[in-house]
């Protein structure tokens, strides 16, 4: 019995999500709903029964594959991925197409698989599973924009996968080990792995893929997309590159990039997409700091972030679903008829800003604390400025422009019941984790010696945030929404590379044409010559020089000339 039970628990939890994803297609009606809601819960149960350490290994070629390795941080990430799939499924099941739901579940399965991957080969396989099915989720947006953005998204992630694979191959060849274990970026192999992971984390210089693709997906698809890819990258960084100093700078850049681009943006969901980059920047920076406090902060922040970011995307998704509009300039004043969506959106916005009593406060401040403990004064100050900036670009900007601002005259209905229920679950979680952070702290990778609420800290952050709010309303005239997009590094390949390719193609065509003209001219001349000397066709008015019937006398004379020439040559 115990043996059987133990065997049962050795099935990688991701398998249950994959089975769920496969069954969603053929199932119909209530059965599909049941599968949709049950699959993540079953997966969750198995996640909590994954033992610490490598459960077992399987021989594959010359390698020992470890499909199931448990630890606190792995279970924590897998838990939030499964929870996200459940609440996302609840949010989407009545509105989304079955193939979107199925792909989203396969995508979640990839994230959960990566969480428990004990070796680099398993990690890579699940990594690619995510890349494939997240692309399908983008395509489920169904518009020409979604199709094009999906192709760009797929190219970026397949490229990232190849770079990751190159790094993994290098590590296997040079160290002989395929274990997932901490390393530093000190040689080509580890740099390739780091680069591959950072592409998924939307790090510079390729951050643009995220804001390019996520907002083109469907109202439900963007909820799933917001959760898995970047946070799986965060887990991979925690497992492989804790304390890698280069991550501090990259993280700080992402934090500022997210704020500036979100401030310039008009598309509701693109604002939120940029703020993913911003929030992931906090986590990347924390992993770079690499102390126990910092890694706890990164893990806790990722957990809280998935919840409030999905909540924000849900709120925005309801607006898109009910109004059909995507832009701040098209909506406004929606609080009148969408109170639930507005309140849930505001709770998400307060959480992302790290307002006291929300999950953002109890998790993000750990990262600042880690920076302070290490006496990283610049990092600490930039993170504090960024916290103010988050309130500015997401905390107030999102709810203000969508639900207040001006009366757009739109009077859409509030969220459908399932979307509303999903939003309420995540709103409650945001507040519960903010009020009782110990619920989360006990599951962090290292023992937590951190007091989230001290009067001084609360006052400091309240000053910081409320005066950011003042800045927002005083500077509103400077933040007038314009119907524009903002250029990013993807301009280099979407425009410059495209133009160079077109120009190169034209040049090559011109060169090719010139060559073929020259060749055909030469061929024509050869043909004319051949016809002149050898031609014998009866259709020709005059046979070729050598095929003509010459009079005997002329021939005899030519023979005499040739013989004379021969004799002359012979004697001299």
């Amino acid at each position: 019995m115990t043996m059987g039970k133990a065997m049962f628990e050795l099935i990688p939890p991701a398998i249950f999500m994959i089975v769920g994803a496969l069954l969603i297609g053929p199932a119909r009606g209530h059965l599909r709903t049941a599968i949709l809601l049950a699959a993540p819960l079953v997966t969750l149960w198995f996640i909590w029964h994954v033992p610490n350490g490598v459960a077992y290994d399987i021989g594959f070629l010359d390698y020992r594959i470890e499909p199931l390795e448990g630890s606190e941080v792995r279970r924590l990430f897998a838990t939030i991925f499964a929870l996200m799939a459940f609440v996302g499924g609840l949010y989407a099941f009545r509105q989304a197409k079955w193939y979107e739901l199925s792909s989203a579940y396969a995508y979640a399965a990839g994230a959960i698989g990566v969480s428990f991957a004990g070796d680099l080969i398993t990690l890579f396989l699940y990594w690619e599973l995510m890349a494939l099915f997240s692309t399908v989720v983008v395509w489920c947006g169904g518009t020409p924009q979604a199709r094009r953005a999906g192709i760009r998204y797929a190219i970026m992630h397949l490229l990232g996968g190849v770079i990751l694979k190159v790094g993994i191959e290098g590590v296997i060849v040079h160290t002989g080990s395929i274990d997932v274990r901490p390393m530093l970026a000190h040689n080509f192999d580890s740099w390739m792995i780091l680069t591959g992971i950072l592409i998924n984390a939307a790090a510079p210089p390729v951050s643009a893929w995220l804001a390019d693709s996520y907002p083109t997906s469907s109202a439900t698809g963007s909820v799933f997309l917001s959760a898995f890819t970047t946070k799986t990258a965060i887990l991979a960084l925690i497992l492989l590159f804790p304390g890698e100093p280069v991550l501090i700078g990259i993280g700080l850049f992402m934090v500022m990039y997210g704020i500036i681009y979100a401030l310039l943006e008009n598309d509701i969901r693109r604002i939120l997409a940029y703020s993913i980059v911003n929030q992931v920047g906090f986590m990347v920076c924390a992993i770079g700091i690499g102390t126990h406090m910092a890694l706890n902060g990164a893990a806790a922040h990722a957990f809280a972030h998935i919840i409030y970011k999905a909540l924000l995307f849900m709120s925005a998704g309801v607006v898109v679903y009910r109004t059909g509009f995507n832009r701040c300039t098209e909506v406004g004043g929606l609080f009148r008829t969408m109170p639930l969506t507005a309140i849930c959106g505001i709770i998400g916005a307060l959480s992302i800003s790290g307002f006291p009593l929300t999950s953002g406060f109890t998790t993000k401040t750990m990262i600042s604390q880690a920076a302070a403990d290490e006496s990283l004064v610049v990092v600490y100050m930039l993170l504090a400025a960024a916290s103010a900036g988050v309130f500015l670009h997401a905390g107030i900007k999102f709810p203000w422009f969508v639900f207040f601002q001006r009366d757009s005259g739109l009077r859409p209905k509030d969220a459908p019941w399932n979307m509303g229920a999903a939003m309420v679950i995540f709103s409650v979680l945001c507040i519960v984790l903010g009020v009782a952070p110990d619920l989360l702290y006990r599951f962090l990778p290292y023992p937590v010696e951190y007091q989230a609420y001290t009067p001084g800290k609360v006052l400091f952050y309240l000053q910081l945030l409320m005066f950011s709010g003042l800045a927002f309303f005083l500077l509103l005239p400077l933040m007038k929404r314009t119907e524009t997009i903002s250029l990013d590094t993807d301009w280099l390949w979407r425009v410059l590379l495209f133009k160079l390719t077109v120009r190169g193609y034209r040049l090559a065509t011109a060169a090719g044409n010139a060559v073929s003209v020259a060749t055909s001219t030469a061929l024509l001349q050869l043909r004319n010559m051949a016809q002149r000397y050898l031609g014998s066709s009866s259709r020709q008015p005059r046979p070729g020089v050598f095929t003509r019937a010459w009079p005997i006398g002329v021939t005899a004379m030519w023979i005499a000339v040739l013989l004379t020439a021969y004799i002359l040559v012979y004697y001299f």
């Binding site: 310039l264 900036g389 945030l465 400077l478 990013d488």
Partner: protein, 89 residues
């Protein structure tokens, strides 16, 4: 339009907005003055100064909005910038 003009939501009335602004300003003042009673531990000296959080929060936001504004002149393009049919086969 023949319907009688219904009063707007109470939250959108000018009187409410005026009241909210007043409450907001009172909260801001209280938050700064509270530092006289609540000790804020400064990790680097400067962040323990009186009203540092308030000033730092306001100035960082001002800086970020201005930087975004300036960058906007360089980076902003019409929405159809990429979708003029050239980029699709």
């Amino acid at each position: 339009m023949n319907e009688p003009q219904r009063p707007d939501h109470w939250l959108a009335l000018p009187a409410t907005i005026k009241l909210l602004w007043r409450i907001f300003i009172v909260v801001l003042v209280v938050l700064v003055l509270a530092q006289a009673f609540i000790y804020i531990k400064g990790y680097f000296g400067v962040d323990g100064w009186f009203g540092f959080g308030a000033v730092f929060g306001f100035l960082s936001c001002l800086a970020m909005v201005l930087v975004a504004k300036v960058l906007g002149y360089v980076l902003k393009r019409p929405e159809d910038y990429y979708d003029d049919g050239k980029s699709d086969v």
